[in-house]
Each structure stands twice: as C-alpha cells, then as structure tokens.
Amino acid sequence: MKRYSAFAIAREAFRQHSGWTRAWGQAEPKPRYDVIVVGAGGHGLATAYYLGKNFGITNVAVLEKGWLGGGNTGRNTTIIRSNYLQDPSAAIYEKSRSLYETLSQDLNYNVMFSPRGVMMLAQTQHEIRGYQRTAHANALQGVTTEFIGPQRVKELCPIMNIDGQRYPVLGALWQARGGTARHDAVAWGYARACADMGMDIIQQCEVTGVMTEGGKVTGVNTSRGDIKCNKLAMVVAGHASVLAQKAGFQLPIESVALQALVSEPIKPCMDVVVMANTVHGYMSQSDKGEMVIGGGTDGYNNYTQRGSFHHIEETVRALVETFPIVGRLKMLRQWGGIVDVTGDRSPILSKTPVEGIFVNCGWGTGGFKAIPGSGWAMAELVAKGHSPLTDEFSMNRFRHGKFIDESVAAGVAH
C-alpha cells in the first residue's frame, strides 16, 4: 500500500496523478479462510481490521451482498458520543470514541473525526434528573461529560431557541469530545487497511446458507460458490435475523426503518451536535454545510429501507421549533436504513449455539459511533472466545434477565 501523505500529493502532482493505486482490490473468493466476516459495513470491516492488527489473523474474507459501506454505514447521521448510563455500554462506546480520536493516523486515511461536542437537551424536569444521573455515572466510568445550564447551551449553539413555548431548554448533557466523522471514509479506511494486510473484500457476494457439521460451522454457501472457514462472524445489522435463521438459531432482534435527511448547504451556523430526545430530532452541520437531520424509528417491522413520511414530519416539526432558522431551508435528500433493535436497546456481541459462529448485531439506531470499539471487541471475541468488552453483551442475557437497559437512560435517539 502506498501511504497517503502531503509528500505523496506533491509527488503525484508532478506526474499527473498516475501513481495512485486502488485503495482495495477486487478479490475472488478462495476455497478456505480462517475467518469469514459477513457484512462489509463499518462493524464488519473493523472486526476484520482488528483481527489482523491485534491478533495477526489475516487469512480473512469480508463478504458483502451489496457494495462496501452501502448499508447503515452510509446512511447514518455520523454522531459519535459515549455518554451512556450503564457500565458495559460506557466501556465499549468510550473505547470506540477514544479509538476515533486517532483513527485517521492509525488507518492512514482521513476519517475527518471532528470532536466538536455533542449536547443532549433536557426539555422536561424528568430529563434534567435523568441527564444529571448520567453525568454522575459517566464521572464514575471515566467518561468526560457534564450537565450544563440553558445559558451555556445558548452560548454553544446560538441558533437555538431556548425559550420554546412548549418545551423550553432547561439544560443539556454535554460531551465536549463527542462529535462526528465522515461515515464513508470510516468504511473505506478500514477496507484499505484490511486489503493491505492481504484480506479479501468480496462484494456482490450474498451468503445464501451456512454449512455446519456436528454443531460446528464449516463454511458458507454464497452466490459466488461455497467457501470454507474455521470461524464465522455475522455482522449484518438489519439482516441479522435472516442470516441467523440460515444458521439455525433465532435472535432477540426486530428490524425497523430509521430515516434521515439533509438540507441544502448553508454557511456555517452550528459547530456542535444537538440531540433533542423529548421533541425527537437531532441535527448537526456537515463540512459541506448541509444540516444533517435524524429522528425516530418506525413502529413496525420493515426490510425495505424506506420509512413513513409522518416520522420525517414529526422530526422536522421539532427542529423548526428548536431552531427557527431552519424553517425556510429546503431539504435535499431523505433516505432510510434498516436497524436491528433489541429488547433493551443494547447490542449483542456473542457466541451462538453453533460453535465457531459469532454474532455482532443489535446496535439499533446508534451503531456508527461504535464502529471502532465494536470491531476491536468483536475481533477479540472471535480470536480468543471472549472479551472483557463483550462479556455482558451475550445473546443469553435476555434469558437471565441481565439487561443492559439503555432504552430509558439514553432516551430514544441513540
């Protein structure tokens, strides 16, 4: 791999950019791999990357039925934060956020991590108590957050109307080192680093079946032939249930649509990420100037990557009240993704009833922020059979009632 650097740009400028090589190649499937990762989204690619980097396992294939980073990795609102209530969540999300800090250098690929600060607005008395509790929990967990008052909110985000008629802003949970990153670049950066370690990234390759022998995985059937493997990591988000069924087990997951939209680009007016969970909308401004807006999920199961219009209406209504200046903005694009939601709104990183199959799913509406940490923990789980970061996220926790309940703590927006 040719390293990207200022020197490389200068060198290529002198030879008409003829020296750049492909960031990752088009691989043909080999008959056997040590580990097959299904799903070339952020989480899948990060899993493969840390398998190679931390454990020296490089005979790895990443299979993708569509194109790389074309699912939820390319459809989210790119928010990165780790201000969760429960200890296991704070551990894995903070690991992830801290990996984001140095990810560009680590991958030699600019993921444009921008720790601009994330605030979650408290607009009811209940939310004030909830977020103060979270701030205290975060202090114990070593996650730097603070509860700030309405005046400080206004200073940090002057375009916000803090005296709304129905839901005035009463304070906010502020994480100064939260922020955003370029979502595509995260997938591309991991893919380039994986390819550089000799891993095969095989796109347009759908897994149609899972081969097992005596309760142990032996390989997968794909649209491009059978491929053998010793271990199989399923990292397919919205389609986790469908793939698990092919392997003969069930997951406590439901798949629903989540939508987002962006406005026309405008001049810089907002340099923080704001999440308003009571009125249900969140917004940040991209480097291109577009306002990036997200809201809530649909209420019913759906695999079509399109959601209901009234959820968009609800989100926009909330934001117009909170940020009056967006009232006359035109929206450019709107899209949906299929998110995999668990009963306690926390992910599943777990062994499965089939030996050699590991599953990473259930990130629901908040997976992007977790990509590096999830990959880091999943790689350890696959390589060693357990990881301190994933122990609590077993799929069996529902049977034992050991929930990691973030559905109340984190509100609705993850």
Binding site: L251, Y300, Y303, F398
Partner: protein, 109 residues
C-alpha cells in the same frame, strides 16, 4: 404511508391513526414458567423478511385491537382481521398463498 383496514370500524385508516403492537398470535406464559419459555415469549420476536402477522391498535379511532397480515419485504398488505382468534382466518391465508405460494410463518402456512 401504510394504510390498513380497521375491521371494527370497517374503513381504511392511515398509520398516523394507528399504533403498531408487534408480533401477533403470541402464546402467553405466566409465573412459574421456565426462563427459556419467558425469553421466547418476551424477547424472541419473529422478524421475518416476508410474510408477517402483527397486532395493531386503532388508537385515534375505535381504540380496538386488530391483526394484520403484511409483507415486510414489499410492504404489501394481505388483509386484516379481528384479534379474537388464535390463528389467521382461511381467507387471509388464501390471500397470502395467492401472492406467496409456499409461505410459512411459525406453525402457520
């Protein structure tokens, strides 16, 4: 916009008047049941890509529950029926079979 027929009001209702209630035809278990049974009943929801049976409530209307047969891969609605039943009526099954021959959902087909 999802539009369903409310079998109680006998009219088409759009989803803003409805509340989705999750998987239909659940078998309920009470105190004293095994942990696995509770896990299945409370958390292991059917999540098919295809034919699905769901509970819906006409919240901003008659307030009553009904069940719907829907396709989660195409958003097609096969029909709705009253909730006072433990299995989908034959007419609904026939309507699904017409579009999706060989369909299967739990023990129904």
């Amino acid at each position: 916009m999802l539009i369903l027929h409310c079998p109680h009001c006998d009219r088409m209702v759009d989803e803003t008047d409805l509340h989705a209630g999750g998987e239909a035809h659940l078998k309920r278990y009470g105190p004293g049941s095994e942990a696995e049974v509770f896990e299945n009943y409370l958390f292991m929801r059917a999540n098919p890509k295809g034919v699905h049976f769901e509970r819906w409530r006409h919240v901003y209307g008659c307030g009553k529950w009904f069940l719907a047969a829907r396709n989660t891969a195409t958003l097609e609605v096969y029909g709705t029926y009253a909730a006072q039943t433990t299995e989908p009526p034959q007419a609904i099954r026939d309507a699904i079979s017409e579009k999706q021959p060989g369909w299967r959902w739990g023990t129904f087909q």
